[in-house]
Amino acid sequence: MSNITAYKCKSCGLVMYPHHFRCLQCHKREFEEITPSEKGKLLTFTIVEQLPWGFDERGRVLGVVEFDNGVKALGVILAESPKIGMKLKAGWDSVRMIGDQKVYGLTFEPA
């Protein structure tokens, strides 16, 4: 299960993530809070060999996933050979340390 909140415009129905104070499409301000569905598909990915300061890791796969209910979000892809269009299942796990604090975010495994 993922733990992010996405926003569906009450006026035009556009699904947005992350948060905007006005709808990207119709500029109205009323949103229904929605959670992403469990599964989605991989839209694009990259394998990052040179991560920023604070990571003790190489070859992290980052990708953009479109959930079945239209939410799109970036996360860590836990698949050995990622392919555009592959079905993925969302999870929620520690994605980095900032100081001695774990920071949680979206992870995706093959569905």
Binding site: T46, I47, V48, P52, V64, L74, I84
Partner: protein
């Protein structure tokens, strides 16, 4: 609005400059532009400094105030302009508006960044601070990673290949060999980057599908232009190069919220706005400086700015149209790829190159008979873009 002339242009070589301070580099670039204009002891009314992150890279803020002090330009007005990697372009826009509106007659615009004061991964982290805090940054997103996500889609959609990307790198590094201000002055070959058994060591993956030679270096440097009115420029007796078009546009913070993530809308709109103000079309441009922080961007921007139809940029590159001597030379300076990319300096360095090209002062990399130049400064990952049209008046 009054016409705005770039009466002076100057920079310092981009490289790793351990001995210099940020403000010291900007001061020398500023003096070079003032001397180039033959300004003498005339007063500068306002100073605009393009700088992204002196607070993080150098633990120094208020660098515009520090710069006027080092140059003894007081009581000139002074502001630092921060707009990510488009800080230099935004500083020029502000200087342009000051002269065009009549607020100031003589304006110094300086862009500078000293990135090598911190170690590589730290610089990567500071640059990544421009990404969305909760939807991107926490995952370890870097600017090369965003470019990697974009490149994979662009390759799929338009048939751009790693050979095409490498052609951009080879061309711009060849141009860089002709530019004494360029950071990377080294010839590379298709074999060394792509096919040699050691190619993966020469050009390792940074953010797949992008490799080392697809990415600009991390540089220290500064560049400056002196802007003024036509009247004063005539007194200074310099060739008249005017800023005829300025365009700026924005797009969503995250790539994933763009309905087509391969569509760089802010590049299209900023370019259209600049051309519209200048009363010109892309076909009128003789030389262009594009923001090739990653090789894919030169191809994508050449299409989105209107020089080639979508999907045709790589073909024009392949046909040699974008080389010096081609139909539309792109990045004769070497671009960000070879000249280097001290982020806040880049937009100003692009203008400096155009001024030199339009005056016929670009030496071995001179584009023949260039009278109209275009530059594009790409901030964030395409979420804040500036475009400029410069012209030489006969």
């Amino acid at each position: 609005m009054r016409p705005v002339v770039v009466a002076g242009a100057g920079m310092i070589p981009f490289e790793r400059r351990d001995e210099d301070s940020l403000v010291g580099m900007m001061a020398v670039a500023g003096l070079n532009a003032m001397d180039d204009a033959g300004l003498g002891d005339r007063a500068v009314d306002a100073v605009y400094v393009g700088n992204m992150a002196s607070g993080l890279f150098n633990h120094q803020v208020s660098v515009a105030s520090a710069l006027v002090d080092r140059l003894s330009l007081m009581p000139a007005a002074a502001d630092r302009i921060e707009n990510g990697p488009a800080s230099g372009g935004s500083a020029i826009k502000n200087g342009f508006l000051a002269v065009a509106s009549g607020y100031a007659d003589i304006v110094l615009v300086v862009g500078g960044e000293k990135m090598r004061e911190v170690i590589g991964p730290k610089a990567t982290d500071i640059v990544a601070a421009m990404t969305h805090p909760s939807a991107e940054y926490i995952y370890g997103v870097t600017l090369p990673a965003l470019a990697g996500l974009f490149t994979r889609l662009y390759m799929e959609k338009y048939g751009v290949t790693r050979e095409h990307l490498t052609m951009v790198a080879i061309k711009n590094q060849e141009n860089g060999l002709l530019n004494p201000y360029a950071h990377i002055r080294m010839k590379i070959t298709m074999e060394g980057v792509l096919t040699h058994p050691q190619a993966h060591i020469n050009s390792p993956i940074v953010a797949d599908p992008l490799h080392l030679y697809d990415c600009c270096p991390v540089s220290d440097g500064a560049a400056a232009v002196l802007l003024t009115t036509e009247e004063i420029a005539k007194e200074l007796n310099k060739p008249i190069v005017t800023i005829d078009g300025v365009g700026q546009a924005t797009d969503t913070h995250t790539l994933q919220e763009r309905s087509d993530p391969t569509d760089l809308k802010a590049v299209t709109v900023a370019s259209e706005r600049a051309f519209s103000m200048a009363g010109l079309k892309p076909k009128d441009v003789d030389v262009a400086e594009l923001h090739d922080a990653f090789t894919i961007l030169e191809i994508a921007e050449s299409e989105h700015a209107g020089f080639f139809p979508k999907g045709e940029g790589a073909k024009a590159l392949e046909a040699g149209e974008t080389r010096i001597g081609g139909k539309l030379p792109i990045n004769p300076s070497g671009g960000l790829k070879a000249r280097g990319h001290p982020v806040g300096a880049t937009g100003v360095a692009q203008a400096v190159e155009l001024v030199w090209q339009l005056r016929g002062e670009a030496g071995d990399r001179q584009v023949k008979k260039a009278t109209t130049g275009f530059s594009l400064n790409f901030g964030g990952f395409g979420n804040n873009v500036l475009a400029f049209v410069l012209r030489r008046k006969s």
